[in-house]
């Protein structure tokens, strides 16, 4: 893999880059089985997590990943920072760069912010989710999880269900899976699934169509109420129309399909409780693989080189 400074989108990666990062994730995961779960790969390097939006799993996953590579991690807390005083992103970054950070892991509600930061500083910038644009580390952990389960991604069918419009996960994960040869379809309410000519992904309309298409993986997206100012669909309808109900779970079970979800799960909305206990529910595998995928991403980026994004 050629030296690369940032990871902003899946699009900017070559096929070779994608395979390299996925392959190394396997090696990273092996470290977890050892009694000392730490390697000195990033010893002496400093990692900053800069989350402008609330996050539990992505932030802690990156922090654990950085610790396991022996990096020093600083957490920038926004509620007590000058950001609440209206400081521009550029000025915040200038301040942080004078602290000589090697890696900045950033999440922001505005699409496009990580690229702005990446252009503005020498540190390696990793996009941990920007608006509805991209979430590349999630894409890697999803691809890793599917590959681990099925051995190969090419030829697999994955349906992504829910709020496609607001979802950076749908964008990045569908992209990496298609690049790796999977077939992807979207399913969800009309107001939340952009037309196929814009997305390049076929749309299924009902669960009946999903079962007929017979995907290997059903990937449910979280209903992101915090992003939605005015309702896009009647909330009371969602579980019955688009969620995995107990009846649908039985059919999923019968067809041996896997269930994935980027978390956090809204129980009773996207998934019924029983679905979380289902043997092919991969939600916990996703969390574990998230650490390995993020270790691999950190390992393969080179601060101070030219940006590819």
């Amino acid at each position: 893999m050629k030296p690369r400074k940032d990871l902003i989108t899946i699009e900017s990666l070559s096929d070779e880059d994608i395979h390299t990062i996925l392959d190394s994730a396997v090696a990273m995961k092996e470290i977890f089985t050892k009694s000392v779960k730490k390697v000195p790969a990033l010893k002496g390097k400093s990692v900053l997590t800069l989350f402008y939006e609330p996050s539990t799993r992505t932030r802690s996953s990156f922090e654990v990943a950085a610790h396991r590579l022996s990096a020093d991690v600083t957490t920038f807390t926004l509620s007590t920072s000058s950001v609440v005083k209206g400081e521009s992103v550029h000025d915040t970054i200038d301040t942080l760069m004078s602290m000589k950070m090697d890696y900045i892991i950033v999440r922001h509600k505005n699409s496009g912010i990580p690229a702005v930061i990446a252009r503005h500083c020498n540190a390696s910038v990793i996009n941990a989710g920007d608006g509805a644009h991209a979430h590349p580390s999630q894409a890697f952990l999803d691809a890793f999880t599917i590959r681990e389960k099925y051995g190969e991604i090419a030829g697999r069918r994955v349906v992504i269900v829910g709020d496609i419009l607001h979802s950076r996960v749908a964008r990045s994960t569908s992209l990496i899976l298609r690049r790796l040869g999977a077939q992807v379809a979207f399913m969800g309410p009309g107001s939340l699934v952009p037309p196929g000519e814009h997305t390049g992904v076929a749309r299924l309309h009902t669960w009946e169509e999903v079962f007929t298409w017979a995907p290997d993986v059903i990937y449910l997206l979280r209903v992101q109420n915090e992003r939605i100012e005015s309702p896009f669909f009647p909330a009371a309808d969602y579980h019955q129309t688009f969620g995995v109900t107990e009846e649908r779970l039985r059919r999923i079970e019968a067809q041996g399909m896997s269930i994935m979800h980027p978390g956090p799960v809204n129980r009773g909305v996207e998934l019924c409780d029983a679905a979380m206990e289902y043997e092919h529910c991969l939600v916990c595998n996703q969390v574990e693989n998230g650490i390995a995928a993020r270790m691999s991403i950190l390992y393969h980026l080179t601060p101070g080189t030219l940006s590819h994004d």
């Binding site: 521009s88 992103v89 550029h90 922001h108 505005n110 699409s111 496009g112 912010i113 690229a115 702005v116 920007d130 608006g131 509805a132 644009h133 991209a134 950076r168 964008r171 952009p194 000519e197 814009h198 997305t199 390049g200 100012e229 994004d309």
Partner: protein, 433 residues
Amino acid sequence: MTDTYITHATWAPGGHQIDLCLAPAAESLDTIVLIEGIPLPNIKKACPSGAMEIPEHAHVIDASGKLLMPALYDLHTHIEMPGRSKRECIIRAGEAAIRGGVWGMLVLPSPAFRFDNGASLDSFRETASVRSAAEMTPAGCISLGMQGLEQAPYNTLAATRGVHVLSDGDDFPADILMLYRAMQYAGELELVFAVRADVPALTKHTYVHPSATAYKLGLHPCPPCAEEIGTETLIRLAEATGAHLHLQLVSTAESVRIIRHAKERGVKVTAEVALQHLLFTHEKIGDYNTVFKTVPPLRDKADCEALLEGVKDGTIDCIVSAHTPCTPFSKKQDFITAPVGMTGLDTFLPALYTHLVEPGLLTWWDLVRACCLNPEGIACPRDQEEGVPSTAPLLLFDPQVSHVVTEESLVCGALNTPFLGQELHGAVTLPLR
């Protein structure tokens, strides 16, 4: 002060060669010379090339190979640049206009230039008359503070400050009842309501045309129906009140169709399109290029084509620059945070020529109609009614000259032009004396 003779110029709208004798700027002539129906001031004589008797030692401009035409009038400019003084904004916009072949412009109200009272209009006119190289006509506010809630003192603005056009910048008034009553009231004062059609509830927090670009960049799409519903609504208001409606920044094919129908049934409506909406589509945004962040957003190719067709058949009366200078820092921010708009004055005529006239999409006559006669007629309607000639000076345009737009070549003080680094054809000589 002596007369200026211009010889062997090609009259752009007609294509034939003419010679002219221009009176000195200080000398104001009562006579109007009509060239192909276009009234022009301060011309002593015009005749086919070669027929002019030129006295010895006269000041002669040999315009061989150059085009002669009325200078442009721009009906949509914002001249405020946050952080810069009002005086500097006026000076730079005036210089930029002259560079781009624009002799006069309608300046829309903005937070710094809040034309909702006599004092701010007086102070603006005073500064502009001294500092600006180009004529600046302020548009009065529709509502106090451009808040869209309470009407501005139209009678004061119109009767004592000579305001002809009312506008709240690019904002659609928040209260439609306020607008309806304003149009009833100020329509009788013969004021023009310049409004951008919109349904704010549908376009709040939206940034791009619904498209593959919107999906790819994860930016909320701005539905074209918002503009179209707004267009229908405004036309109904104009019909009901009899006020002259001027639709600003028309951007969709369907809007053009709606306006065409309204004109057919005699509604007092005129419309403008920004050059950016004729030339560019949403694909230009690429990887969040904030220069191409505009309101309304850049649309599809079919929209560009329909808008151009609208200009040609007269449905769209004017092409405007929608000049909006932004500080370089503000446009370096992320797409959502960055302000909207492009600059357009510096490059206006060369860009129109390079991208529309030279490729044969518009004729010189279309351009003169859409960029000189119509916009001036809307901004200064009384002048025409009373038979006062157009005050547009003439300019010479040399289509043989090309230049690359660079930071140094821009005088407007901002860099948010889509033409930076590009070659544009044509050089403007304005004024001629």
